[in-house]
Subunit: 279 residues, 2 copies
């Protein structure tokens, strides 16, 4: 389980790195970024996972997310995986930004030809944590997870399925009910097949309906988000929480859109919120 | 003097915009970005100019510079112009990243074929300020200027030539003496011709030797910058200041390189420093 260093840059007193490794889950070379803030020698630090949205790689949030100051202040490692397997051998959907490469939807695909490489659930839940624990000063007993859009969906579903592992979950502009919106129906249908019962573990609203709970959930959604009405439908998450007795903080942020200008505005607040729950 | 809105995104309570206009100086369509922080209705705000480095456009610092929080806190407008004229009609140097498009060096070229469009000095010093004053809530009596690398050279030379207009000057990793380094010798020679006396108004060290002064100058330079020894040679700026009785704060930042990971680390500090001098 070796990793290659793609780049390392000093930033806010720590190191912003990009690394790659041969993934067993995806059968491909996978790239991810890790920010390790300044720390005392030998110290391990809590880990904040960030899952990115459609079309993104590990790089978008590292360049535009404005998380490093807050992570340095709170002493948190920030990890950003890629959003799908990559490479010439990986099947793709040409000209579709919302399926295939860049659109792994954090599922383990079961249908051909996707099932061989599109295993982002197991990659994020099992393989990359092992890499992180082995190669970085990470305190794996203290992890939280967040994400944006498709990555918000990933953070919500992975967090709700693993509440003991992730002390807190937050999301910007998440797809809260992929089973009920075009992006999700397309992706889950093609990765998983037409049996909609099999989609429920990849749908935050369905997970809550089916009994999943988390005590620390924060969502920020921009009111001017061009995808709000058709794809995100944040109110369904609030409805599911209300109907099932789960507390959550779901905030509509007036005038903000779907971009990293929104994310970077509230990123420091999210990092601080997670830090408060990670102790 | 109309401008077109390319995009506007709410960010940190203000608006991060990208605009374009037909420039008389360059004879081309020019694109620039402006961040206007939240403000009281009718209020005008001081202006911080940011000049970018080789290969950059208006976009790099808007995406990676992490200035908006500090500008919102201090109530400052942040303006980032492009680094050269653009378009199919503009002569370029194919395969040269350090000359032609993306490498205007903030000069008014006098040699053919560059002199028709490559007029970034007059564009920054005269034309864009008029655009800014007309279309944005800018207090033009309170301006400061900063930049990175080639843009640090631009900020130093424009600021030193116009000390009454710019209350303070700062730079990350600037080219301090272009007349004495490969990047600068190539660009100034081709834009201006071989008479090196004509280069001196585009060389910060030469300007100081020739009597230019500014009371508020701050430079941050990374010690691990791959261009430090050959292209930047920061010590020559300190030497010129010492020899000519000019005070300046020139800091070597241990372990930082030439990237936006360095810039974003110290950006908030620079914005605050300018704010203190803009009153």
């Amino acid at each position: 389980m070796t990793i290659e260093t793609v780049s390392e840059n000093k930033a806010r007193g720590g190191v912003q790195g990009v690394y790659s490794h041969a993934s067993k889950e995806t059968g491909t070379e996978m790239t991810f970024s890790v920010y390790v803030p300044p720390r005392e020698e030998g110290a391990t630090l809590p880990v904040l996972w960030y899952l990115s949205g459609l079309t993104c790689t590990h790089a978008n949030v590292a360049e535009k997310g404005e998380y490093r100051q807050a992570c340095a202040e709170h002493g948190m490692i920030f990890v950003a995986p890629d959003t799908s397997p990559r490479g010439d051998d990986v099947p793709d959907a040409a000209d579709e930004y919302d399926f295939g490469k860049g659109a792994g939807f954090y599922v383990d695909a079961v249908r051909e030809p996707w099932c061989k490489h599109y295993r982002m659930r197991s990659y994020i839940e099992r393989e990359l944590p092992d890499v992180l624990e082995r190669h970085f000063p990470a305190d794996m007993a203290r992890q939280s997870i967040m994400g944006h859009s498709m990555g918000g969906h990933g953070a919500l579903t992975i967090g709700l399925r693993n509440p003991e592992r992730f002390k807190s979950i937050s999301a910007f502009s998440p797809i809260v009910a992929p089973s009920q919106v075009p992006w999700g129906e397309k992706a889950l249908g093609r990765y998983l097949g037409e049996d909609r019962d099999a989609w429920r573990e990849y749908d935050a609203v369905a997970l809550i309906e089916d009994g999943a709970r988390h005590d620390h959930l924060l969502v920020d959604q921009g009111s001017a988000d061009q995808f709000l009405d058709e794809q995100l439908r944040t109110h369904r998450l609030g409805g599911a929480c209300d109907a099932n007795g789960m507390e959550a903080t779901i905030r509509m942020q007036e005038g903000y859109d779907h971009s990293y200008y929104f994310i970077s505005t509230f990123m420091a607040e999210h990092v601080a919120w997670h830090a408060g729950r990670l102790g």
